[in-house]
């Protein structure tokens, strides 16, 4: 065996802590190593060329690149080696950056020792790796998009327009998401009804899009290119094939419920259409509040009234199975419940509301027809206080991160408020005003001029009621003086938080969330659209709060990723699957039991385990269960693990 070891300095990231000369000296002594070389940036063009040249000159038959994590550049170095004829599976990465130089900066000697051990163990592994060819499997050229907000809509349209079939699953009765709740959007003041509704209609009418509204993904199995998905289609108790969306049912329904779409600013009925522009424009019965469904008898006014005879109290939920090759998760975000912000009187005072509620009050299509009135008494508020960073940038109490969109929408709301109430005055408490987008700073300047809003740099300490007035106590940190404002209405820019149910969905999809619940990308900088699970992509604010412009770009990016994956009829899979040594296998069946994927069967004729490589996911659970080492995971052979352990366990 002729192994070449290439040690990367990563500038000073590795070489600043580890003793490269010592590493080279020690590793060169290891059996099988015929060449050791270091370079400042192994992943750069000259670095990669260096490796290619040495593979040829030194006739190397295996390579260890000692550098950063394999999740960063394993592919890079494997492709590089393959370009000069070395099988990519004869290249392994020894992670001496994340695992040695970075976490042990103050202990260069020990860190160097650790790095040497890691490299030697990796050399032992690569020596016994066998060359492999990727497995080629057929793909289902269809895409599942989860979430029908602007991200899911954009991704679905891009894919459908490229000619592939899309299943768009939305848990609410209508698509549209948060964007459909906004009044007007910064920095152009377009109304979402003008710019989103046409896209919603396009989704509904597109021949390549199957729209599953009021549905949820409950199970996902399979792997990239071949996912099997179970979708629960919840009972709407209305036959949507018959429903014409006339809303006669809602007129006669006697039950009023707080409207989710209007964030509690108005009420809807127990049978309802989410909003006039809903897609699909079909009625849904809320089973928790419908008298007929709760008591099992009585009422039924909607059924008597419906001119289409669409009401069906006997309707049951259904599970539908669909096959797709890729999945895009576009589940968006939620805003923090203002009642959590007790110091601001959230949930306690009717006139302390969230910015999303204020969007509904400002919206021309909203419950007040765009007339700005406050919830407590329906009067026009003459003094409005906007509190930014309500729950954001507050690591001690709430979310440490910046919710990114609040500076801009607060400015917009201050402007829209001024347009609606010309003799009103707005105060805005802010920590910093962040306007990092095209046309954003200009928009903010316009608001300062046109809205005549008073921007106060500082945090609000407390909001309480005195003599029927809301008192806002804060500090203006620029003058160092305390500020006290009598407000008619307080609008809290509550923190953006991951959408409800995302953790459960992540479990179903076997993808990860971060510490807050935002979806975890494969790499924050370089693979922000992918999850660690191949074939599953993220679109929009499900990864982290972003505005509409960025969401649409992100969604188109995710669509492009899915399209490029499905641009072929077959895709290549990692050939790291289990294999059986037929001479040793006794047919005991332990592996059959250990395999979660039913990929192993005992051949009744030979009494030997047989593997269906199309089903094998390469987890290696069978190997751990085999008493005779007859079944092993390719390139994670027992022999390799033993050699690695021997090196690492010794002092």
């Amino acid at each position: 065996m002729r192994v070449g070891v290439f040690v990367c300095h990563c500038g000073r990231n590795i070489a600043g802590t580890l003793n490269i000369e010592k590493i080279k000296e020690e590793v060169a002594k290891h059996s099988g190593v015929v060449h050791v070389e270091d370079y400042i940036f192994m992943c750069s063009d000259p670095g990669q060329k260096l490796i290619r040249d040495r593979i040829k000159e030194k006739n190397l038959d295996a390579v260890v690149v000692s550098a950063c994590s394999p999740s960063l550049h394993e592919k890079t170095f494997r492709n590089n080696a393959a370009s000069v004829g070395l099988n990519p599976y004869k290249v392994e990465i020894a992670n001496i950056r994340e695992w040695a130089s970075w976490p042990h900066e103050g202990k260069p000697e020990e860190a160097t020792e650790k790095a040497i051990k890691i490299i030697k163990a990796t050399v032992e592994k690569v020596k016994s790796n066998i060359p492999l060819e990727p497995l080629s499997v057929p793909v289902t050229r269809k895409v599942l998009v989860i979430g029908g907000g602007i991200a899911g809509i954009q991704a679905s349209l891009d894919i459908a327009n490229a000619g592939l079939e899309v299943y768009l699953v939305e848990k609410k009765p209508s698509i549209g998401g948060k964007m459909a709740q906004f009044s007007e959007t910064f920095p152009t003041l377009d109304c979402p009804q003008c710019i989103e509704t046409p896209k919603m209609t396009e989704v509904a009418n597109h021949p390549n899009i199957h729209l599953y509204a009021y549905s949820e993904v409950v199970d996902v199995s399979g792997f990239v290119g071949n996912f099997k998905v179970k979708v629960k289609r919840k009972a709407t108790y209305v036959d949507w094939n018959k429903c014409t969306g006339c809303s006669e049912c809602a007129k006669v329904c006697p039950v009023k419920v707080s409207s989710e779409y209007d964030v509690g600013v108005s009420q809807r009925k127990a049978i309802y259409i989410m909003f006039p522009q809903a897609v699909p424009n079909k009625a849904t019965i809320d089973p928790e509040h419908c008298l007929r469904l709760v008591y099992g008898k009585g009422c039924g006014l909607c059924a008597k009234t419906c001119p289409a005879g669409a009401i069906n109290f006997e309707q049951k939920e259904k599970i539908e199975e669909i096959d797709v090759g890729a999945i895009i998760v576009a589940t968006g975000f939620d805003v923090m419940d203002p009642s959590l912000l007790t110091e601001y009187g959230g949930g306690k005072y009717k006139d302390v509301i969230s910015a999303l509620q204020f969007e509904r009050i400002l919206a021309p299509s909203g419950p007040t027809g765009g007339k700005v009135v406050r919830p407590s008494d329906g009067k026009e508020p003459k003094t409005v206080v906007f509190v930014q960073c309500a729950g954001s940038r507050d690591p001690e109490h709430y979310m440490p991160y910046c919710s990114k969109v609040c500076c801009m929408y607060t400015a917009k709301q201050a402007l829209l408020y001024k347009h609606a109430v010309p003799n009103g005055h707005a105060y805005v408490f802010y920590i910093d005003v962040r306007t990092d987008g095209k046309g954003y700073e200009e928009f903010y300047e316009r608001v300062l001029r046109e809205a005549e809003a008073t921007y106060l740099r500082g945090k609000v300490a407390e909001i309480y009621k005195e003599d029927g007035k809301l008192k806002v106590l804060g500090v203006d940190t620029l003058t160092g003086k305390g500020v006290e404002i009598n407000a008619d209405l307080v609008v809290l820019a509550t923190a953006a938080v991951p959408s409800e149910g995302i953790k459960e969905l992540a479990k179903v999809l076997r993808i990860q969330t971060d510490e807050y619940g935002w979806l975890k990308e494969a790499h924050l900088k370089l693979r922000p659209l992918e999850t660690a699970t191949s074939g599953i992509f993220i679109a929009g604010a499900a990864q982290f709060i972003r505005d509409i412009t960025d969401t649409v770009s992100h969604a188109s990016g995710a669509a492009a990723k899915a399209l490029s994956l499905l641009s072929r009829n077959r895709i290549e899979r990692e050939p790291l699957v289990a294999e059986v040594n037929e001479e040793i296998c006794s047919g005991c069946g332990n592996c059959v039991e250990a395999c979660t994927y039913q990929a192993i069967k005992i051949d009744p004729e030979t009494n030997i385990a047989k593997i269906n490589t199309a089903l094998c996911e390469g987890c290696g659970a069978c190997q751990a269960s085999c008493p005779s080492a007859a079944i092993q995971l390719t390139n994670s052979y027992k022999k390799q693990l033993f050699e690695m352990i021997s090196i690492l366990a010794k002092e």
Binding site: P103, D514, A532, L641, F642, I645, K650
Partner: protein, 149 residues
Amino acid sequence: MAEKSVEEGKEKFEPVIVGFFCRWCTSEAADLAGTIRLQYPPNIRPIRVMCSGFIDPIYVLKAFLEGADGVLIGGCHLGECHYINGNYKAQTRVKVIKEVMKSLGLEEERLRLEWISTSEGLKFAEVANEFTEQIRRMGPNPLKKLKRE
């Protein structure tokens, strides 16, 4: 457990710990810990594996027989396994391994199974700190002494 393992004048005992880290979670957490420059002792020597359910009991025993003072297995939180239930398999096997360890005269605390997700870089560093300290207090693997004698 020895109250005081560092005797006057003697060199401080530096334990050797072998880590088996699932590539889908704990390996990534270790990457993250490094990326954000969390500092922890260099005693843990990691092997990246496909899944905690891949770990054959014999690997753990091999590590102890080769002289490791501790073994740390890192897998995904229950319910979050990339392979659906590999971590449950690991959990069961760890129980069996601990029984075998006891019969060999090895304290079962020398083997630890932890669930550390991709985003838990901080937890990884904390576990590394804490487990290294624990093994340091416990002193060297008793099998090593046996070998020398």
